[in-house]
Amino acid sequence: MGEHIIEVSSLVKRFGDFIAVDNVSFSVEKGSLFGLLGANGAGKTTLIRMLCGLMAADAGSVSLAGIDVLKNPEEVKMRIGYMSQRFSLYRDLTADENLEFFGGLYGARDTEGAAGRSRILDSVGLAGMENTLAGDLPGGISQRLALACAMSHNPAVLFLDEPTAGVDPVSRRRFWDLIHERAEEGTTVLVTTHYLDEAEYCNDIVLMHSGRIVADGGPDEMKRRIISGPVFEISGSGASFLESVLEDESWVIEFSLFGDSVHIQTEEGMGLIDVKSRLLTLAGNNQDFEIEHITPSLEDVFLRIIDQSESEGEAVI
């Protein structure tokens, strides 16, 4: 176990009767890539705002590099970089001017001279776009500019709130490469996302649901822990019929819909041939389906967790 750079304990935020963040505690290891996951409205943005000192909490505490963020929000400002959900570049300023402005606010040395800024813009793939207005940059590129602006002062912790929302897959990939580079250089990165494939890149993840943390751990460890048996994917036109009869089968531990296909998790030790023959028996006239043994994705894990948490009405960790 490394050193914890962020410690959150029993954090609560209410908006009237609505509890946006409900007694949340977790810690983030220094230099890790930490994912905060959950659906829209799960409380991720509220949580990240409190971690940055942008918003007051109703109860609990946040410590960042030993500083009490909720009591002394100003003291952490130099140590953190924050990219809000709709990162807010000045659309009427050029890429270079945005970087100069944000760098200037932090007193960053690297952004003082045009050469330094141009080097930074190069490193995030904005070479030749120095004088383009931020408002004219395509989504994926302006996100990278926003990242450059948020980390021009080499913060110890980088908070990224849904940095890749609405960005095309190629740009997302490129963005994550940049985040990885940062993490490798020792920056702690806390990122929220609702793309579960992105969560696979993280060292640690926390899953939020209705303001509470319902699961945490490393992606692989979490899969092993939550999904004990093998997982199969059934697709084809017969899948929907099977779905309606599988519920009563005791050997099916869990099943969930993924678009046109159905994922089932069976008792431990069951093989593909065994499962297929059982399904063929059940299917009757609906023999038109295919079955495949798959590695469970985080999506399987999370659907499972959220299912359980909703039916039990409490967190399963």
């Binding site: 000192g53 942008l54 100003e74 809000s84 807010s88 000045y90 001017e97 402005f101 606010l105 932090y106």
Partner: protein, 367 residues
């Protein structure tokens, strides 16, 4: 760090192709428009003459009236009963009735009474027009009586007008415009500029930087204060070049008090922004809750002295009330510090109050 804010603000202003004309052309445009239009001096009042006397004297009086710049005769009638109908038909704003026996009265040295009917729907014009007509009639009476070397009649109604001897209302309006334009430009620009950052989410980004609340606020206000200062000079220069209005008193004193007024309007802009979530709200709030009350209750349109006591109390909360006294005082009367220090002090206190309230409301946190 505040330097970065100011530099950024100017870059944005420079790039905003629509904003620059608003900031520098609009003040001059407003000045021209209001300077020429806001003319309370009635001229060319259409006048109907109802001559019941048909004497040489009544004819002479009619000619006297016609010769003045103030009236345009729209006709003469000889029957009282036609007045209402003819006023309507000929679109006359006033009718002067020369009563039967007017000539005879004059010759006999008696003071005749001249009834004068005025369209009261525009009360200001009506009042002024009545005054003009009265003067002409009295002057005519005097001349007539003197010519016949009878003892001149004593005419008591002899008003004297100070400070604006020509009684040109434009000279009274233009200093007021300085106040109006300064308020409109700085109040609206400030509230919009602050709210725009909220609306676009850049405020969130600014809050997370080491910028202090004061840096954010003054970084936003200083550029607009500078624009305000340029506007002050621009309006003063334009008033002089276009309308020939010179400052009777000290330019520096006026300038200093104008800065104090700016301090108030910028603070109000900031205050409005703390109540508004987007630019439309900021615009509406600026107009409805600040500009209109300020224009109505500052003495810009209606004299404060004429207001009912309950309303007059409200005027003390209007920074523009004091500033109007100051600009008009310095521009027209050449007033100095000894006459104006109370107004200055009132603006200083109001300005501090407004700033403190808006700073308290402008928290460096998200709601």
């Amino acid at each position: 760090m505040i330097g970065h804010m100011i530099k950024k603000e100017f870059r944005q202003l420079k790039r905003d192709k629509r904003m620059l004309p608003i900031v520098f052309i609009a003040p001059v445009f407003q000045l021209l428009l209001l300077g020429f239009a806001a003319n309370l001096d009635p001229q060319n009042i259409s006048l109907l003459i109802c001559d019941l006397d048909r004497s040489p004297q009544s004819l002479e009086l009619s000619q006297e009236i016609v010769a003045s710049d103030y009236f345009i005769p729209v006709g003469t009638i000889y029957n009282l009963s036609e007045i209402a109908q003819e006023m309507e038909r000929r679109k006359a704003s006033a009718t002067m009735i020369v009563p039967k026996g007017f000539g005879a009265d004059l010759k006999a040295g008696r003071s005749p009474v001249i009834p004068y009917l005025v369209d009261g729907s525009d009360s200001t014009t009506a009042a002024i027009a009545t005054g003009y007509a009265g003067n002409i009639v009295r002057r005519y009476g005097l001349k007539y009586l003197n010519a016949d070397s009878l003892p001149p009649l004593r005419v008591d109604v002899q008003s004297r007008i100070f400070f604006n001897p020509a009684l040109v209302s434009r000279d009274f309006m233009i200093p007021g415009l300085l106040a109006l334009v300064l308020m409109v430009i700085t109040l609206v620009l400030t509230s919009l500029a602050v709210v725009k950052e909220k609306e676009l989410g850049t405020m969130e980004q600014l809050i997370v930087t080491p910028l202090s609340t004061a840096d954010i606020i003054y970084g936003k206000l200083i550029p607009f204060a500078m624009i305000g200062v340029l506007d002050i000079l621009l309006i003063m220069a334009a008033s002089r070049l276009i309308f020939g209005l010179e400052i009777a008193g000290s330019f520096l004193l006026l300038f200093a008090f104008s800065l104090l007024f700016l301090f108030n309007t910028l603070g109000l802009g900031l205050l409005v922004s703390t109540f508004s979530g987007n630019q439309q709200q900021a615009m509406m709030a600026s107009v409805l809750f600040v500009m209109l009350p300020m224009i109505m209750l500052s003495g810009f349109v209606f004299p404060v002295e004429n207001m009912p006591a309950a309303i007059r109390v409200l005027t003390y909360a209007m920074p523009m009330r004091y500033y109007l006294v100051i600009v008009r005082g310095i521009y027209l009367k050449g007033a100095g510090m000894s006459e104006l220090w109370e107004e200055g002090l009132a603006m200083l206190i109001l300005g501090i109050l407004i700033t403190v309230i808006s700073l308290l409301r402008f928290r460096k946190r998200l709601e």
